[in-house]
Symmetry: C2
Subunit: 205 residues, 2 copies
């Protein structure tokens, strides 16, 4: 089945299955049931089986899934078995924290360049890197064949910067700015929106 | 209708409508159509109308919604028209960045205390606050009637700390740790999971 033929909601659950499988493998578990996977992700065992059936035959009825095999299969499907060089735009406090965010490295998303518009930040060291001016973006993206960018700029700049990124060839944007992005259909965006999450919870309190 | 009777998926879209309305109000717009709201949130105009109809009559067919009125109504419904004191657990680089995260303040989620387990961090200043030992949590939560916590600890500690928070009376956890939390049903959790988001995008590249 072509990549575009599988529902997006299924794709978005795969990383959660993968996280569960990784944890189980670290604990030395050999086998996991669709019920256990479903409990972790918050879906029914039947839905786990249906989700995974899009990609092949991973388990036998009543025997569960082999943890390491399913983990490795999902890593291949999600393409997390390769390095993804990533650029970061925005060298403020959040950008600094993201440079130190261990899960990015662990999952092979490596921030290889940092950009900012602020002259006071440009040329400053940030970990092993040096903050570069936005004008350098196009060259770095092309030279290092970057497809993924992390956006950590103030909300009012997010759309403009995203458009620059797209013009440079970026195809996936992880957006930390509290702003909706309007992007061409070939570009994917995901939003980190803690206030939205908080508001969805405080409604109930 | 009781709060628990409205589907969670509807509740989770309300903050997105609110963000759109806030933006439109800042731009001086008076009226917005369900089509415009839907385009921002990524749902159909019909779904916008259905979502909002759970909460009252906000607009008239063909005339659209009054921006300021709908914004204020949603703020009331989501309880974002009041202050929410919040505690932060984890004073690492991410915790520091969250202390400076302007949208929290703007939306009246104010971090009023920071806790960490690391003796090297305890008693260190962090903005206007001082990092406190975890043992102080119960007293602070009770005294200041805190219901919301932000969790920014390493993944292996997340479940234990979450359980401590729940034992202290916390009812909503915004979890930045890349770990699934198992919590009692009266406690809500939301996950900030950038790796999960990245993996859901890099699948397509």
């Amino acid at each position: 089945m072509p990549r575009s033929g599988i529902p997006g909601i299924v794709i978005r659950r795969l990383p959660l299955y993968l996280r569960c499988l990784t944890l189980l493998a670290e604990r030395g578990e050999d086998v996991v049931s669709s019920g256990e996977l479903g409990a972790y992700v918050g879906v029914s065992p039947a839905l786990v089986r249906k989700d995974l059936s899009y990609f092949g035959e991973f388990g036998k009825q009543g025997l569960g899934y082999k943890v390491a095999f399913l983990r490795d299969s999902l890593m291949g499907i999600l393409q997390t078995d390769r390095d993804w060089p990533v650029i970061l735009v925005g060298a403020g406090p959040l950008g600094h924290a993201l440079m130190h965010y261990e899960p990015f490295q662990r999952w092979r998303y490596q921030i290889v360049a940092v950009f900012d518009r602020d002259p006071a930040k440009i040329s400053q060291p940030i970990d092993d890197l040096t903050v570069q001016p936005m004008e350098d973006m196009a060259l770095v993206i092309e030279k290092r064949r970057i497809m993924v960018a992390i956006l950590a700029v103030p909300a009012p700049h997010a759309q403009n910067v995203a458009e620059e990124l797209v013009a440079c060839g970026i195809r996936a944007i992880l957006n930390y700015a509290p702003a909706h992005l309007v992007l061409p259909s070939h570009v994917r965006a995901a939003y980190i929106a803690p206030v939205i999450s908080l508001q969805g919870m405080t409604y109930y309190l």
